[in-house]
């Protein structure tokens, strides 16, 4: 029999519901796996083993009954910017090194309510600012597929945990590509849903108007199961909206007759050859499956530039609360201002300071003088243009990142060059549109990712397209996608 940790969420769910395995078996297997792999991978900042075993025991009681939810007893991980009552939340920052919230994020609440078993809080770039999970008080996370490489970021810990089979699935946050890019580096699936579909309550804000709480999973099916759990209105987040979709229904409806746009070829010029090959392969397969393909032009460059300003501006405000009065180590100073300055200088890393300064500058009426207003107007233009492109289409296909995982330390001397790696992902955050990353193949041992981006609330269409492509690609990628078990998983 296979190692339990080899099973996808759908497969494990079927086993648990058939009582072939217990949730406690699964939790123990994963905790064991963590012991083996953590020294090398460093996916977790704070494991929650004891909490996991208690949750597993409770899940087993529910699984003995009739109506246990699909993900009951399934071990998962959560990024360390999602609050869990009683568990330290560091956001990978010195500033919050000792912070223990007494409230729980909506996403974790939902997972726990469905019987999920939280294994721990995962590593990330400090306050989710970064694309490599190297800027963390816990040190860098290594890519399980090649430990000399980055797992991506900022949700690199969540992606590495899933790729290293240290969790069945994980929750991350994506403000400009922070779950999709690591999923792409680690050969995983991640959906950044329409803004508002998943509650942000309890997620430490980076850029409130762009932040999305997102699942990272091994397969498209698992991702749909996770979305069933995460999606839906929360009275605690006024930007959330209601959803009663079952994302697992209609996954296999195929792409025949779908109109799918492919992003303009010029933007692929800067990508690694593997990315171009993955895009070409995906286009051929989609065509073979009956989709109509056409080339489109998305304002990617403009989106990236606007994104940098909006994200930094909102972050500069959101991080203002960390003033040393209640978080971080209190510093001496003659005045309150001096104390705050000292605490913030000591508590934040360089990248965080860089973005706070950029953001404050952009918002400043003295220096920016109406600059931010122009940026917001330009954002509206990007939204209009993107909507116009998507209007007649079912989805647009584009790369997730310009290449495979890079070596750790590649950007140590040139931090802003890393910003460019978000050029395919930020457009979805800036427009609030859904985008789904899936592995698109790759050269050698490292995968590259491709994404479908769609209209507002078109998650089901994206799942359908990704599922069809995943089927065709799975043989090529040599990975199992757990299709045998779909029928057993009860809808949530």
């Amino acid at each position: 029999m296979k190692d339990i940790t080899e099973l996808t969420a759908a497969q494990l769910s079927a086993c648990l519901h058939r009582r072939e395995l217990s949730a406690s078996d699964a939790a123990s297997a994963y905790l064991g796996r963590m012991t083996l792999r953590e020294r090398e991978i460093n996916a977790y900042i704070t494991p929650t083993a004891r909490r996991a075993l208690e949750a597993a025991a409770e899940a087993d009681r529910r699984l003995a009954g009739e109506d246990a939810p699909a993900l009951c007893g399934i071990p998962y991980a959560a990024k360390d910017n999602l609050a869990v009552a009683g568990v330290r939340m560091t956001c990978a920052s010195e500033m919050l090194a000792d912070f223990v919230p007494d409230y729980t994020a909506a996403a974790v609440e939902r997972a726990d309510r469905a019987g999920g078993v939280l294994l721990g809080k995962t590593n990330m770039d400090e306050f989710a600012m970064g694309s490599s999970t190297e800027r963390s008080i816990a040190g860098a996370t290594r890519n399980p597929l090649d430990v000399t490489c980055s797992a991506g970021g900022s949700s690199g810990g969540s992606a590495a945990a899933v790729a290293a089979h240290e969790a069945v699935w994980a929750i991350g946050s994506d403000t400009g590509g922070s779950t999709r890019q690591p999923a792409s580096f680690c050969g995983l699936v991640s959906l950044k849903a329409t803004y508002g579909l998943v509650s942000r309550r309890g997620m430490t804000e980076l850029a409130s108007s762009l932040d999305c709480v997102c699942p990272i999973t091994r397969t498209v099916t698992d991702c749909a199961l996770a979305m069933n759990l995460l999606a839906g209105q929360d009275t605690g987040d006024m930007t959330s909206f209601s959803s009663d979709e079952d994302y697992t229904i209609g996954l296999d409806a195929g792409v025949s007759g779908m109109r799918i746009g492919v992003v303009q070829p010029e933007v692929l010029a800067e990508c690694e050859p593997a990315v171009k090959r993955a895009m070409d392969r995906a286009v051929r397969l989609l065509e073979a499956l009956g989709a109509r393909i056409e080339t489109v032009e998305l304002p990617l460059e403009m989106a990236l530039e606007i994104y940098m300003v909006v994200a930094a501006a909102e972050a500069s405000s959101n991080l203002a609360r960390f003033d040393g009065l209640r978080y971080g180590s209190a510093k001496e100073g003659a005045t309150a201002s001096d104390q705050m300055r000292a605490a913030r200088s000591a508590g934040f890393g360089d990248e965080v300071k860089r973005r706070i300064l950029t953001g404050a500058y952009a918002l400043s009426s003295t220096y920016g003088g109406g600059y931010y207003r122009k940026i917001k107007a330009a954002q509206a233009t990007v939204c209009r243009e993107t909507d116009a492109v998507l209007g007649p289409l079912d989805a647009v296909l584009l790369p997730t990142a310009s290449g495979a995982a890079f070596r750790l330390g590649s950007y140590a001397d040139n931090p802003t060059a890393l910003y460019r790696s978000d050029c395919f992902t930020t457009i979805a955050n800036l427009t609030g549109l859904p985008a789904l990353q899936l592995p698109g193949g790759g050269d050698g041992h490292l995968p590259v990712g491709i994404s479908f981006m769609g209209k507002k609330r078109s998650e089901k269409t994206l799942f359908r397209a990704a599922y069809a492509l995943e089927s065709e690609l799975s043989a090529f990628l040599g990975r199992e996608v757990g299709r045998d078990a779909v029928g057993y998983a009860k809808p949530f």
């Binding site: 910017n81 999602l82 609050a83 939340m89 956001c91 919050l96 912070f99 919230p101 007494d102 409230y103 994020a105 942000r200 309550r201 309890g202 997620m203 430490t204 804000e205 850029a207 409130s208 108007s209 009275t235 605690g236 987040d237 006024m238 930007t239 501006a313 909102e314 500069s316 405000s317 991080l319 203002a320 609360r321 960390f322 003033d323 009065l325 209640r326 309150a336 201002s337 705050m340 404050a360 918002l363 400043s364 009426s365 003295t366 931010y372 917001k376």
Partner: protein, 480 residues
Amino acid sequence: MPSVMQSLFERYEAVIGLEVHVELKTGRKIFCSCRARFGDTPNSCVCPVCLGMPGALPVLSDEAVALAVKAGLALGCRINRRSWFDRKNYYYPDLPKGYQITQLERPICEGGAVPIETSDGKRSIPLIRIHIEEDAAKLIHRGGETLIDYNRAGVPLIEIVSEPAMRTPEEAKAYLNALRRILSYMGVSDCRMNEGSLRCDVNISVRRRGDPDLGIKCEIKNVNSVNYVGRALEEEILRQSALLDAGVEIRPETRRFNEDTGKTEKMRDKEGAVDYRYFTEPNLPPIVLTDAWMDAVARSMPPMPDEAAAALVRDFGVKPENAAMLTSSVWLADYFTRCASATPYRAVCESLFVGEILERLDRDGPQEYLTPHALAAISALLGEGKIVSGSAKRLVHLAAESGEDPVRLAERESMLKISDEAALTPYIDAALAASEKAAADYRRGKVTAIRQILGTVMRESGGRADPIVAGRMLEERLKN
């Protein structure tokens, strides 16, 4: 007034605008469900949202929006059917999130006016805007340290900004009093300056009379009584006009009023103003007021306090000066109306209500001190001459505290007047025996001497003897 001051006042004119912060009486905070009440134990009404914990998100209180709209309707403002929140970013220890959620670009109300009356007659002070915002925490400076009470963080406020349309301290005081009266009557706020539920920042500049241009203004922060506003303004007008007179340029400053010295003092320069880096609050969708919602708020609007006071005078014969007091809130006007409706002895009821009950309500808040039925019973006892006025006053409190029937209480407490001749006879006998000289005087023709004897009867009976019956009995006895 000394002649120097008088001469300054004659040559200079003040231009005054007020920014008034009013706590909305929702009982809850604006973005969370924590209790908002004056006097709670510090930091006992807090949660992740009002403490600004990472990941905690604001959820707007519909009731706060309704009260802001009520204030706007009462003051004749235009209500913006679509408004939104902005973030005002600055660092201060009382600001949990490092920013305040307020309305800059599109406030909920614009325009409107406050009608005032001064010795110069009636005027209307136009408003610029009313916007909704959250309060900051309260800093308590004690010895060398500063403590933070987060109970006040997130309390719903409206800020009412007047045009710089007032010219004298008297107008500013009248404006504040009128605003307080309207907002407290409407139930928008308690408007208690001593508890901070109404706070006032004063903007004032001075110019030579006849000069069309405005002078350089100073702001006096957080003046906490109507009288202090008047005194601070007088001080500041004097200071600024004396400076101008001496040819010294006024510097734009933020000042405070020192209650001990009665002077204003500089806090900081206004030049190099703080850059608040405003931007639209991303966590809250715009406030969109639908027709149905607006109708519901409009329907819940009581008449304006002046109309309600006029109705009390007209319908219940209430004295005008009492009518103003009885319409300080909708609740009070309603309570009084129910009492007055329950009795034909309305003047008696009014005087007992104003004399005995109002004070208790001030102390204990809006809870029915005595039922209208009980007050009606006491009013009848007094109105029909069965008890004396002192007993009636005592009876109000006895009945309120015990909840017993006032008539039975009056009997038990021996308050009922003695008008029965047989019962009065012992008092008459005793008084006559003790007043031989007065009786002799009376018989000799000094008619007024009977008053002294009647006084003895009243004193000995504890004030309960019916003076008319007792007087008649005395006259009869003295004739014989």
